[in-house]
């Protein structure tokens, strides 16, 4: 889709309506900071506005946005190595029982390369092959990371 400058904001608005919440929650989990997450979603939308390549369908567009969002998050983490993290309550992550809170704390503690796999597989429902395409990794690398992410989660929980 190649759209003119005039419709840029409109197009970004449409994309935000469709995928904004996905991008935002991914950024929240990756960065553990609400303000940074807002900035990253904004940057992802700006990148979309500046992007002129064609998308085959909405799924393609969504995968592209997720990849851009993840990369921006990783850049942010690399840029700000020493960060202060917000507690779960301030991030707006809902939980009912103590076990749920503990589980989410453990997920947030994971390194970002495992977090993104958990997010894409268990939250967004992508399969290994699709994750490999989104993250530009091989399928075996995705499988390996998923296995290690599970091990790490179990280890942290125990």
């Amino acid at each position: 889709m190649i759209f003119s400058r005039k419709n840029n904001n409109e197009a970004a608005g449409e994309v935000f309506t469709l995928f904004g919440s996905i991008l935002y929650r991914n950024a929240i989990i990756m960065l553990r900071d609400q303000q940074d997450a807002e900035d990253i979603v904004q940057d992802a939308l700006i990148k979309y506005m500046e992007h002129t390549a064609q998308f085959y369908d909405d799924e393609h567009k969504k995968a592209w946005l997720i990849r851009v969002n993840m990369n921006l998050c990783k850049n942010k983490l690399r840029y700000n190595k020493y960060r202060s993290y917000l507690p779960l309550e301030q991030l707006g992550i809902p939980y009912e029982m103590e076990h749920e809170r503990l589980l989410m704390e453990v997920v947030l503690e994971l390194p970002c390369k495992y977090k993104e796999i958990i997010l894409l597989h268990y939250v967004e429902g992508y399969q290994v092959k699709e994750i490999a395409e989104i993250l530009k990794l091989t399928e075996s690398a995705v499988k390996k990371r998923m296995e290690r992410a599970r091990c790490k989660l179990s280890a942290l929980l125990s």
Partner: protein, 198 residues
Amino acid sequence: MKENDYDIINKSISGIFMTKETEKRILALDQRRRNRKRKMCQHIVSVAACAIFILFATNLFFYKSAKEQGFVVTVYASELGAEDEIQLYPGEKTLLQPVENPFGTTFLFELELPENYCYEREGTTMGNDHISTHGTTIYWNTEFSEEQRQDLQYELPDYMDSSIRIRIYDEQGEWVDTLILKMTKEDGNCFAELLYEK
């Protein structure tokens, strides 16, 4: 870790929602774009300033004056020969001692360069004096006899100057330095001054 735990993770993360304020802030894209552009400009300016500073500092650090590089200019009057030669130092105005004869005095400026270096220069004139170059020597033929001076005192000013720009090239043909040999005549006295520019 139970299989059920992954459903809990899914439920918790899917439950994250944006407030109206958050949505509003995110959709203020124009403001963000302007800020990004401004930051980018600042970044480019600071990088360019750093690059210029580094370039300047490196140049200063590695810069060697003409003398340090082995470029020496000596001057002597033709009759005195090389025994009474004077070495010119950059920035020092040196009074040249004439040896008068009916044909005036010729000062010879000998330029010494490191091996394989070469230079280019042009001849010039000053009043009735003729300044020419030949090989590594610059000749300044002054009309200096008393007779000539009396003949010319109404025609020529008390102060005259002329300069020769000597561009020096290294063995690769790269321009490395420029020396300026400034010749001045004040009330009949001859001065030479070596300057360098780069």
